[in-house]
Each structure stands twice: as structure tokens, then as C-alpha cells.
Amino acid sequence: MEERRGGLRSREKITDAFSKGRHGRRGKRKASAVRVDEAKRSTEEEQRPPSSRRARVGRRSDQQGGSGGVSKPALRKFLQILRRRLLNDERGRKCRESSEHFQESCEKLDNLIRSTIIHGTNNSVLLVGAPGSAKKEVLERVLGDLLAEFNEEGKSASVGVVRLSGLLHSDECSALREIARQLCDTWDLNFLKSASFSTNLRFLREILSELDKGHKTVIFVLDCLDLYTTKQKQGLLYNLLDALQGSQAQAAVVGLSSRHDCLELMEKRARSRFSYRKVVTPAPPPEEGIRVLKELLTVPEGSAGDDGLLSGSDPSLQLSGERDEEEVKAFNREVAAMLCSEESKAVLDRFFKCNATIYTVEQLVLGLICSMDGSVSTLTLPMLRAACGSMSVTTLVKQGLQMSVLDLTMLVAMQRLEKRGKESYNFQHIYKEVESLRSADQRFGQEAALESYVRLVEQKFVETIGDHRRQQEFRPSRLLMMGCEIERIIAGHPNCPESLRRSAANIFL
């Protein structure tokens, strides 16, 4: 117990020293003194004969792997643990469940569905929120709790869930067949695969009324609801909601979408049968992103499988022994210190203001793990900057930085046309612009330019619109890139001619 307290105290001391070093005047002095010492040490090091220096560096790197208190093999192991945890399906749920908004949304949805199960009031609700705002996690949590509460093992289910997705069951026929299949699976009925559309529809109405008699509830989950509502004929939605209108059913329809205009897109007959209840899951704030990042970059103390994510994993990843524990603590401390520094906070704040979804956080963590693995050291500021910077570079820009000068000229010509107010233009317009851009050493024939244009269309830098039966060179087209992306390409392109750079600069003025 005493030892534990001592450990805690020493950790507090370290964090205090760190925070003072960052913020306090004394700390500043200390930090500057440390810096002077380091500089002295390095000059001494430089003055020593190279052979002895090399031997010393080699010894230290073998033991510690270039980072504070974490040895090279231990760092590798930690990174492997972090990677495994990151690629596990459960990490998203684990990370988000603790947020406030999550609990709030869960409560709202739970109340609505619970009223259907208990009081038999048919409900329809739209779960709407920005991409990455944990809509699915909210739904799964609520459904999991309700199924566990109302369904008893060994008995016929009193709550059944039918899951449909706009990606999979976009046509009515397959959707109704899927509904019939899932209902039959839940209540142990014989499913007739060859049943027609009308048979399945009749079956749906009949089983709903039968289930209603037995006070059993069906919850229809329509994922990607907007894919159903953007269709011209929305028979499935109408049939489902119409069945709910009558008193001979006890069911709820939960739609998931990230489009807020989802209900407006519904057909009139379907919209009038849908209740306007919405549960909005808000987009995670930047702080949430930073919190998840910290969580994902922290190695679980104790054994690696403590959080249940690595159960049954490689025994070489199991952490045991005091030395391992110490190294875990040292690694976590270094990562936490790095993420808490002012510079890192500024970098992360800028990054998460643009994108704070769990997906982007995961991508960032993956990038950081890769760079730590590559340089065999714990997290550093340059690594963080590089990872955040590379995530803001789109693939289009990466491709653009390697394109030929002709392709680049074509892009600049198109941007010039757009700046002049042209919404669409064909190849002839672009080539005329290329002609006005070209310098004496950059002459390209029309056929070469047409080839380049086709290449740009194929690589989706440009999109052709309108009548596809027209000749390629006269087909209207438009750019799929933003001006800033072209500007970035021009600035970073290794072979961009100076004349083109000047012309592009005139556009972006």
C-alpha cells in the first residue's frame, strides 16, 4: 500500500515538474537549464573520438530504443497491442459509450421503443446525425438492452428485430423477402424462399396481427433510410408504415440516416404515415476527438487483455512482470505528456476542428503507430504534425503532385475558365485556354491535349456532364477539384514550369 502511494506521489511529482516546466516561471528556468546541459553534453559528445561516441550511442539505443524509459522490444510490443486494439471491432463502442451525448440519445430512443413494447403504441422514429456520430452504436446499445430485458432464454422471443439496409435491400421484392426470412428466423417459422412479392406482403400483415394478439413486438431497423427515400416509388416504406397505422400490429420503425432532409424526401403517402419523431445524435466536439485519441494511444495497464479486447490474443503480447508494468507506465506517460504539450494541443485542435469522427481519429492513430514503428521512438511532435498533415492531403492532391506538366496545364486552364464564371466547358474551350497559357518551351498538340483530357476524366479529376453520345471533345465537363487543391499541387509540383506557376498565381490572387 505504502509502495503504491509512493509510486503515485512520484508520478504526481513528475507530472507537476512537467506542467511547471511548460507553464511556471521556475519550470521555464529549469527547462532552460536542462536545455543548456543537453547542449553542453552534445558538444562534449561531438568533441569525443567518433568510435567511442558510436559505441555509447549503440549501447543506449540497444537498451532504450532511443526513447526515455521504454526499450525497443517493449515499444514494438506496445505498438502491436495498440494496433490490435485499434483494428478490433469493439473499440468504437468502448470509446464512445462514455460520452454524455451518447447516453442522452440512448435514453430518448429507449423511451420510444419501450413504449411500443409495453404499451403497444406503434412508433416510427428517425435517428439522424452527422457521419461518425455513433448512430449505430446508440441503436445497438438500446436494442441490446431491450432484447436482454424482454426476451427470456428458452422461450419464444417477445421482441424481434428485423434489420434492413438501403445498401442491400433497395428493391421492394428483396426487402420483403428479407423481412419474411428474418421474422421466420426469430419465431421459428418455415420460410418459403420462392414466395412472391404479394405472398410476402400478405405474410407480413398476417404475422403482424398474429404477433399483436400475443403481445409481441417487432422492431424494423431501416439503415441508410435515405436510400429508400430517394427512390421514386417507395412501396416498402408505404407498406410498412401502413401496416403500423392499423391497430392490428405492435411494431416500431427506426430509420437511420445522416441526411436531415430524409423525411422531406419521402413520398407523400409514406410521409403522412411516418411520425415526425427524430433523435438527433450530435457530431462529436473536438474535445471528444482528443479524448478518444488519448484513449487509443494508451496501452492498458495490467495485462494487455484487461479490457477484453485482446482476449485469446498472442501470448507474446501478454504483459506481465514489474519491468513490463514500468515500461507500460513510462510509455503512457510519455504519450500523455506529448499530447498535453501546448504545441500538440494546437496541432490537434486545428485537426479536430475540421474532422472529429471516430473514423478520422482511428486513421490518425494508425498513422501515428506506423510512424512510431518506423522510427522506433515514442510519440514526438514532428510525428504528430506529419500524421495530421498527411491526413489533410487528399489522394487527388497526391496524384496531382505526380502528374505530367500537360495534365497540370489542363487543370490550370480549367480553373481559369471556372474563375471566369463558366460552369461547364468542353475540351475545345480548355484547349483554347491551354494555348493562351503555353510558353515557348511548353507546346502541346491538340491530340496530346485530348489524350491528357481523357486521362483526367478517367482519374476523376474532371467529370463529363450532359449528353454522353456527343464526341468526347465537345462533351461539357467540369472540375472535381477545389481551387485550393490545385494551388497546393502547383506549389508542391517538382516539375511545374515557372510560367505555369505565374499564371496559376494570377488566378488565385
Binding site: P131, G132, L167, C224, R259, Q363, Q402, S404, K460
Partner: protein, 459 residues
């Protein structure tokens, strides 16, 4: 290639499907599942054909659910996925790709890793819907640098050099004494070619093709350390800048070069060999124009005129009463007119009805047709007492032959269907579009002794 090597090295079951070859999602699913079943990752399924019958993603999901007990991880690589987002089935293809990317969201817990290989970025697949929440983890393969290209080609000498033509090999120009010398020569050659050609293209395939084609020429001049070769290479690069870098245009270029060489050798070998596209006229287009019947050429010209001129100008050009109105030439108006013409030229040709095409053809025949020089025909017409030739022209133009040629041209894409889809081509209101290039039209007109510019007004 990298993906194949990695998958080969980890020794796990994997399926490789080409979206370009399969064309539809159903075929892709069938191909992938068959390969996985053959490797024992998927259990044998019952069915009439004893195979896996999947009509779409929903069925695939059910099959994958059944395979959740498989112990090892399998990989499914789909190559050329960008082809799924092209054409009429683009929506279906995009949905399928989204489904594959979000497979883990369906909680089937099967150990299947999907690898999509595409030339375009993932952002290009998105269509602005909520199902595009999570993208795949993307790995960007950068293009080769000049040094990398040189290294690759250096290692492929054995494969590329045998591609030299037999005449070059027989001439002994490339026969070198030692293997080392050959290696050095190849290296020197690449040091000249790769940096120069990389101004136009970084494609390894194109560089392989070019280096195998050009090496013979370089080997002849190697004594002068490629000094005579460099101007020739410059010509190739000029050609690439003017005509593009596709295999077709380069093949034409080398074909011309070969013809020129043969001609010069016939002339006694004194004439200097010239590289260039202007030296010999375009061989393919020449053959195309000479092989076309007279009626076909006239129809093409009529279609070209109909496409570029507005229908309101027909009476002005071909009408009987030409209203010649003398107007003072206002420079401002002239400028405006020139601008309008320029804009119309940039906008491209319009569509026209078959009826209009036939009436322009008739007028063209009347003004430029060579039937008036045919004495036998004139005698026949005089005998029958028809001196107006109107009836003759009408029958000639409205003949089965005319419509047959129009159909042939449409199938050859010289003409393409316009906006009306449902109507039959025999219907006179059927709209067509002329795809003939200006250079080709001028060449045909010149061959017939017609000044095409007299008939083109554009506005």
C-alpha cells in the same frame, strides 16, 4: 504486383477478381466466392448447380454469415474497381463497393479482408449519401521516379532487347562483344532516354515499349556516344507532345519511320532518314478515304455541313433565291460575328434529322455532283426528256443505298444517334450527329474538288 506478392508471402487463402473482366457485381461475387470455396475457406453449399448462387450483396452477406466459423483470415482482392462506377450500372456498382467497405458494420464477424485496387481515389466513388460514412484505409502507391524507372528497365534488358526487329539483329549493329559491354551500352541508352521521355510520361509500359523500339537506332550511333541519336529522340518527344503518348499514335509514328527507311533504301540509301509525322501523310486515314465510295463521301460531307450549320442557314446556303443584301461592313458587328463563330466552333456540332441530311445531300449533289460530267447518263436523261434532273436527283438521294450507307456510318461511329432514342433510323425525324473531324472532312472535300468552307457558316 505488390499485393499479389504480399498475399503470396502470407500464405492465406485469397481470391483475385478483376472488376473490368467481370463487368457486373453478380459476376464479381460469383468469381470471388468460387475462388474462396476452392481454397476451402467457404463451405460447400447445396443448390441446383452445387455452387454459390448470389444475386447481390444481400445474398453475399448470408453466405458470409455462414462462413463465420472459418479459422483463418481470407483476402478478397478486387482489381480495377473504378470500372464499377462507370456506365449505366454506376449506382449499383458504387453501392456494392460501399457495402464491401462497410462489411464490418453488418456485424457478421467473418474473417474476410477486402482489398480494392483502383486508379482513382475513394473520394471519387462518393455520391453524397449517408451510406458513405466510413471510407477504407487507403494506401497510396506513388508513381515511379526517374531513378526507379531506370533501375527497373536496367534489370529488364534481357526481356526488352530481344524485341528488336530481325533486320536490326541481322545487320549486326547491335551485336556486341561481351555481356558487360552490352550492359554498359544499355545503361548509357537509358540515361539518355528515360529522363527525356519522363517529361511526357512516367508510364513504365510506355517506356518499355519506347526503349525496345529505340534501342536499335541508338546502337547504330553508339560510336558517337549517342550524339546522332539525340536529335532522333527529340523528334520522338516532339511527336509525343504533339500527338500524345498512346500506343496507337506511337505505333503509327514508327510505322512511318519504317516506310521512310524502306523508301530511302530503294532510292539507293543516299537520302537521309527523317523522323517526323509530316514527312509521310497519315497512312490509315489515306486508306480510309480512298476506300470510301463516292456516295459515302458526299453523305459524310453533307452530315458535316448539317452538324456545324444551324438549320436556319440551309435556305441561305442552298436556297434558290439568294438575297444578296449589300450592307456596310461595321467593324464592331464583324467582330461580334467572328466571336459568335468562334464560340459556335468551340461548342461543337449539333444534331440534325435524317430528313435534313438528305435534303443537304441533294443540294450538294446538285451543286457539286459529278453526274453532269457523265455523258452516258446525260444522254439517257435527254432521251427520257427529263432536263431538270430533279427527278433523277430525288431518286438517287432517296435510294436504299443512301440509307444503307447512313446505317453503316452509324455503326462505324462516324455518325452517332442524336437525342431521340426510341425512333427507328428509317424514320426521317431520327436525329443524328456527325463525328467527323475537321481535318478528315477537309481531306474528303479536297479529294472531291469541293471547297468546304463555302458551305460552312456556323451561325
Amino acid at each position: 504486383m505488390v499485393v499479389r506478392e504480399v498475399l503470396g508471402s502470407i500464405e492465406r487463402p485469397f481470391a483475385w477478381t478483376s472488376a473490368r473482366a467481370c463487368a457486373t457485381t453478380k459476376n464479381i461475387i460469383a468469381s470471388g466466392l468460387t475462388q474462396l470455396r476452392e481454397q476451402g475457406w467457404l463451405p460447400e453449399m447445396g443448390g441446383k448447380r452445387g455452387g454459390l448462387l448470389c444475386n447481390g450483396p444481400a445474398d453475399l452477406l448470408n453466405v458470409l454469415k455462414a462462413s463465420r466459423n472459418s479459422k483463418s483470415t481470407a483476402y478478397w482482392v478486387i482489381d480495377d474497381v473504378e470500372t464499377l462506377t462507370e456506365g449505366a450500372r454506376s449506382t449499383e456498382g458504387t453501392k456494392f463497393l460501399q457495402f464491401l467497405v462497410q462489411l464490418k458494420q453488418f456485424q457478421i464477424r467473418c474473417k474476410l479482408c477486402i482489398i480494392l485496387i483502383s486508379r482513382v481515389s475513394w473520394d471519387s466513388f462518393q455520391q453524397g449519401s449517408s451510406y458513405e460514412e466510413n471510407g477504407p484505409t487507403s494506401l497510396f502507391f506513388p508513381a515511379y521516379t526517374v531513378q526507379q524507372l531506370q533501375e527497373i528497365l536496367l534489370s529488364e534488358r534481357e526481356v526488352l532487347i530481344p524485341k528488336l526487329s530481325p533486320s536490326e539483329l541481322l545487320s549486326g549493329a547491335v551485336a556486341l562483344s561481351s555481356e558487360e559491354e552490352k550492359e554498359k551500352q544499355w545503361k548509357r541508352f537509358l540515361n539518355i532516354v528515360v529522363p527525356s521521355v519522363s517529361q511526357c510520361t512516367n508510364s513504365i509500359h510506355m517506356l518499355r515499349y519506347l526503349s525496345s523500339k529505340l534501342f536499335g537506332s541508338y546502337a547504330c550511333d553508339d560510336g558517337a556516344e549517342g550524339k546522332r541519336f539525340k536529335p532522333k529522340l527529340q523528334k520522338v518527344i516532339q511527336h509525343m507532345r504533339a500527338k500524345g503518348i498512346s500506343n496507337v499514335t506511337l505505333a503509327e509514328f514508327f510505322e512511318r519511320e519504317r516506310v521512310l527507311e524502306q523508301q530511302s533504301s530503294k532510292d539507293g540509301g543516299d537520302a537521309e532518314i527523317t523522323f517526323g509525322c509530316e514527312a509521310v501523310p497519315d497512312l490509315h486515314s489515306q486508306a480510309f478515304v480512298t476506300s470510301m465510295p463516292y456516295m459515302g463521301k458526299m453523305i459524310l460531307l453533307a452530315a458535316y455541313i448539317a452538324g456545324w450549320n444551324p438549320h436556319t442557314s440551309d435556305n441561305r446556303i442552298f436556297g434558290r433565291t439568294k438575297t444578296v443584301k449589300r450592307r456596310r461592313k461595321d467593324p464592331l458587328l464583324m467582330n461580334k460575328k467572328a466571336e459568335k463563330i468562334q464560340e459556335a466552333k468551340l461548342g461543337g456540332p449539333g444534331t440534325f434529322t435524317v430528313e435534313r441530311l438528305v435534303s443537304i445531300l441533294k443540294s450538294l449533289f446538285k451543286l457539286e455532283g459529278d453526274y453532269l460530267e457523265d455523258s452516258d447518263l446525260l444522254d439517257k436523261l435527254e432521251e427520257s426528256g427529263d432536263t431538270d434532273y430533279e427527278d433523277y436527283l430525288r431518286t438517287k438521294v432517296h435510294s436504299q443505298e443512301t440509307y444503307q450507307i447512313i446505317k453503316t456510318f452509324t455503326s462505324q461511329s462516324l455518325l452517332s444517334p442524336g437525342s431521340v432514342e426510341s425512333a427507328s433510323m428509317c424514320c426521317e425525324h431520327y436525329r443524328l450527329q456527325c463525328n467527323l473531324k475537321e481535318a478528315a472532312a477537309l481531306k474528303i472535300a479536297k479529294g472531291l474538288g469541293i471547297n468546304l468552307h463555302d458551305y460552312l457558316v456556323y451561325i
